[in-house]
Amino acid sequence: MASSTRSFFGHEDWLVILLGFIVLVGCCWMAAAQSRSTDQAKPQVVNALKGKIAKLEPWTSNPLDSLALRSPSENAPANLKNIYSLVFTWSVLGILLLPIAMWKQMRPSEYWTGFAVLAALGTLAFVLASQKVIKYYNFEYVLWALMLGLLISNTIGVPRLIRPMMIGDTIIKIGLVLLGAEVLFGKLVALGAPGILTSWIVTPVVLITTYWFGQRVLKMESPSLNMVISADMSVCGVSAAIATGAACRAKREEISYAIGISLLFTAVMMVVQPYFVLQSGMDKNVGAAWMGGTIDSTGAVAAAGAFLGKEGETIATTVKMIQNVLIGVIAFAVAGYWSIRFGDQPTGQRIGVGEIWRRFPKFVLGFLAASLIFSFLLPAFGWSSSAIETITKDSVSQLRSWLFCLAFVALGLETSFWELGKYLKEGKPLALYLIGQAWSMILSLLMAYLMFGWLYADKVKEILAK
């Protein structure tokens, strides 16, 4: 069975795309649009998966609060909804990853033991990330998943039985195909021209110039680390680091380093930047667009925007959302550039289309296809935006989070502190991040002033008033 699966797919990425699309089709099927109201013109969309994928609650001092076991009334039995969701989520993931285990010719004992370890550590990572101080200062679950994996591998080591299950790279790719469904091009028009121009001009300019600076001026040893840091800093933080890291086949330590540095600075910027906007007397719409364009992480942008009021929150999150959509184009471009530029033949030798295709990471096609299907094909077949929204927000996004979490536990289990320490000792990656971020802040501020403070100032107010 295993060998026949291997010969059919030929390349692991095709299996990854197939599994990603099985999840997407399943989520669409479970979110059938049904008319629940008497008003046939506005049928309510019912997503059968809503609330079924485990999502832990924020907690302050008791980690068990993350499971929300307490019932509203004292005499009622404990609320086990989150326990059922956890069991359901583990089951879905366990079945989903089974074909990968067959592809990699794992024994059932290796797969199920390895999966149990990943699921347990992944759940613990989500519990750690749900602590309110951690959560509301944007230290995302991937950081804790990575940390728990690193802790085990660098103390007691990874038991031989579960080593075959260290397939973080593969799990990430399935998660990225799901992420494609969340990249909806329709979101581009949310703020009209000022939003698109602010996000889609500054971001690629910062990405390309920072990468160029890293290669030519700082002379970074690893182009892939340079690209991951540049994308992480200029596009949308962790998700961009994961997508471009997979597209340019960056080492796991490189992705881990870029994520760590980004989360650290994001926690500072999400507090300092709104404070600066308020104290400097800057126009709040300009300040919000500036924060949307520069703060790495999407959640941190929303948090920082909230300090500027409702309009500030709307502008900041919408600019960031438009930037999020860029991730698909960037991942595709990076995968294409890497396939042409970095290979095994001598520098300067021309390569053919066949060679480019051989090198191209095929999962990126699944990522892009999912984005195009959810952006254009489903709406063309009559799927409403609310139906697509409930599929992406209430099921796809949550399954993708779990996949990323398990993947980062596995990456942590495969990484040694010594390998990661090499990057911490070197000053160049940190310098690249800081210089790139400063450059991004200057360009974003100029563009935010131009679009939100001058050219389209009235139009933005008009859009917000609606």
């Binding site: 959640g299 948090a303 996004s397």
Partner: protein
Amino acid sequence: MTKSKPPGWLQLLAVGSALGVVWLYVLPHIAEFPSVKEHIELLERHNINAGAMFYTEVQEKR
């Protein structure tokens, strides 16, 4: 002369205990600092998930 490293399980126990102290004692206390409390309450009022990785996760479900 080389120093011998403590056994792995002891290292795991030490780091695990340190994590327990941080998450169960230090962070709950930090959550009570007025500026931190204000920050958390504002985001809870606005239903914002500050730990969101992508825009689809930003709005908390209530």
